[in-house]
């Protein structure tokens, strides 16, 4: 796991790599975004970011740790002047090259294989990497209403 960055305005969670923790994780991220942005939080963008994060965590559970034991780290970056939320999902499971994955065959739908596609559709940016023995996915999404941004910068 990466060293802790004690900057104010970021929240971080570690949970066991288990489907049972998807719901605690999702509600924690949602409430933290509400704590941060209040009325300026755009609900539809938040829903999409949170499902993109859930796809990333589900892939860590199923593929990186192959449904075995492991820890998932999720960091939510709450930059005070930013208009974007950034969520970084980290694991220490097996490495993975997203470029090697074929996109879904939309003409022949199968039950599965949509996770990476949904992440890319619902995040504004979706980057993958590996530092030492840690894999990470960084999902970025604008979640603050535009009027708020203008009100602050004028």
């Amino acid at each position: 796991m990466s060293p802790f960055d004690p900057r104010r305005g970021s929240a971080r969670v570690w949970v066991p790599a288990s489907a049972a923790f998807l719901s605690p994780l999702r509600i924690f991220l949602e409430r933290s975004l509400e704590a941060w942005l209040g009325e300026a939080l755009v609900r539809s963008a938040t829903e999409e970011l949170l499902v993109a994060v859930q796809e990333a965590v589900t892939n860590v559970i199923r593929h990186a740790y192959r449904n075995g034991p492991g820890i998932v780290e999720v960091a939510l970056d709450l930059e005070e002047r930013g208009e974007e939320a950034e969520v970084c999902v980290r694991d220490t499971g097996r490495p993975f090259d997203p470029a090697s994955v074929e996109p879904p065959d939309f003409a022949h739908p199968t039950p599965g294989g949509y996770g990476l596609h949904v992440m890319r559709c619902f995040a504004d940016r979706c980057e993958f990497g590996r530092d030492g023995r840690t894999n990470w996915v960084r999902l970025t999404r604008r979640v603050r209403a535009a009027s708020e941004i203008r009100a602050e910068t004028t």
Partner: protein, 105 residues
């Protein structure tokens, strides 16, 4: 003309990786023997992710194999967007509300 009556199931919890087995069981358990006709009302469901959609697709395929039909109604705007980006909105028959869906059987 006598219209066939589908079984209607409302999904009220999450439809995701954590709940996918329960969702499959609930839907397949609701249809009786014979040719299954199933309407899934999505109005009350919680979080939905691609694994949840995959579970719905696998149920739809199982019902299709038995000569049956499975339709959906009342998705939230978010679930509509998820159907859209996965193109499953083209595979599933999705109705805006329950009345329209029932009339379509």
């Amino acid at each position: 003309m006598i219209r066939e009556q589908p079984t209607v199931v409302s999904l009220d919890g999450d439809v995701d990786f954590a709940s996918r087995k329960g969702v499959r069981e609930k839907l397949l358990g609701a249809v009786g023997p014979g040719r299954p006709l199933l309407l899934v009302d999505l109005s009350g469901c919680g979080a939905v992710d691609s694994e949840g959609l995959a579970a719905l697709l696998s149920v739809a395929q199982a019902i299709h194999e038995r000569g049956g039909v499975m339709k959906f109604c009342s998705p939230s705007p978010f679930v509509e967007r998820l159907f859209h980006v996965t193109r499953l909105g083209l595979v599933f028959e999705v109705h805006r509300d329950r009345r329209t869906a029932l009339e379509s059987f």
